[in-house]
Symmetry: D2
Subunit: 144 residues, 4 copies
């Protein structure tokens, strides 16, 4: 394993520890790990507290998965904090009452900007949502 | 007031009642009303449970405001349920620890699709996020 | 080859013939083929007439590639015409004076909507732009 | 008129001169002016060379209007060149064979990023397309 990868894995672990302390983690029940391709993967078990009036998981939490999947994938590539500039979400299927898994993937890691795509699948393998995002690299050192 | 407006206000009240029963309402603390121009307006007081590791309201809940502001604005215009096809979110400023107000506005009400724009402001008046969304009109009658 | 594929290839050929008659084809110099995975692939040689004041291919034509790549990929999957509802474009690198290749890929083929992602690369392999799009299926028969 | 406005108007004129030299201007027939609220306004007369196989102005040129309307509106606010990071386009109505007018509007002028919304109307007043875009401020001085 080269130094670049070492460094990225160190950052992934720091980001996981950071996320474990995020209050929204308890509220949403999301659990973060990184896969061996460097994608941030968030699992969110079905929780009745996160549903809309018709009983499915509310789209806002699907967006929160999209948002997190992109940001945590991008953030592990830089020595500085990144900011989410924008993202889009396409809602493809009803979430129903399933565990949802959000995953990010790098499209481009530039000097000043990162671009990712994201997907949310149900545990039964249905593709629930996709998105893409743009992140700017700040001058604030990453020092979790 | 013409019949068309009467009907829209009847639907707005039904949508408000529906939202009050949504479990995600309790979790997020969002409160819905409609303004006199037909915009769905969601107020979300600051809640520590909705913050990320750095202490601000997590972007996912800003998206949930964008999502709701668009859907509830669009939904009041149709006799049938609408589905959110897609939306985009641009995060402009840090949410900090303020009450956030999400608001939708109709761009176009078509036969098969509605288009809205949405904004999220802080109670101090800062523009936190903007977005636009596309909603499809289903054949499921609106019968709240 | 099954009947479904036969039918798709018949439609691909009809779409190619249709595109050859599109006046914008001459103006932009785009050439369309389908690859063996069903992606519409558009090649657009560098043309000085399509540049902005700084000498690169104008972003609008990169969007035209994104637009075409998505629409022609989606359209081949349906017996009815599809409409482009929306798409997004992220511009990642300068186009410079290279031939550009736009390519679509299906994310989802639903009954009423298709979702695609698109990319534009330069002939030297640089990733110039990416996008995703949503297309609605109309009731107008595809009868090219 | 304050100095800030003077400076913006000087830049608007420089941007107009710059655009007049853009080869894509001849190809598309677009004409640029700025209105008194600082919006870049592009008029594009109907040209058969810009149509798709069904005879309407091709969506790619509607995107080119959206792109230009945003970029030229944003660019006039900075002493440095801006880059288009991304934009989205929603196609609302058929363009038909009408002159199209694209217009940008500032949502936010930040230190490092500008955000705009854009619309394209037909000369008969139909709303053809809307979009929003994000632009980054570079360190390259604006010296047209």
């Amino acid at each position: 394993m080269d130094n670049e990868s070492d460094e990225r894995i160190r950052r992934q672990r720091a980001l996981q520890r950071g996320f474990e302390q995020a209050p929204m983690r308890q509220t949403t029940g999301m659990v973060l790990h990184y896969d061996d391709r460097g994608s941030a993967v968030f699992e969110m078990p079905f929780k009745p507290e996160l549903t809309h009036a018709l009983g499915d998981t509310h789209g806002g939490f699907i967006s929160a998965l999209i948002d997190n999947a992109g940001w945590f994938t991008a953030a592990a590539h830089y020595d500085f904090l990144v900011n989410t500039l924008e993202y889009n979400v396409k809602l493809l299927e009803r979430a129903k009452k399933e565990t949802l898994i959000g995953k990010g993937k790098i499209i481009r890691v530039g000097k000043n900007f990162a671009t990712t795509d994201m997907e949310v699948k149900s545990e039964s393998g249905r593709l629930i949502a996709v998105g893409t995002g743009t992140f700017s690299v700040t001058t604030v050192p990453f020092d979790f």
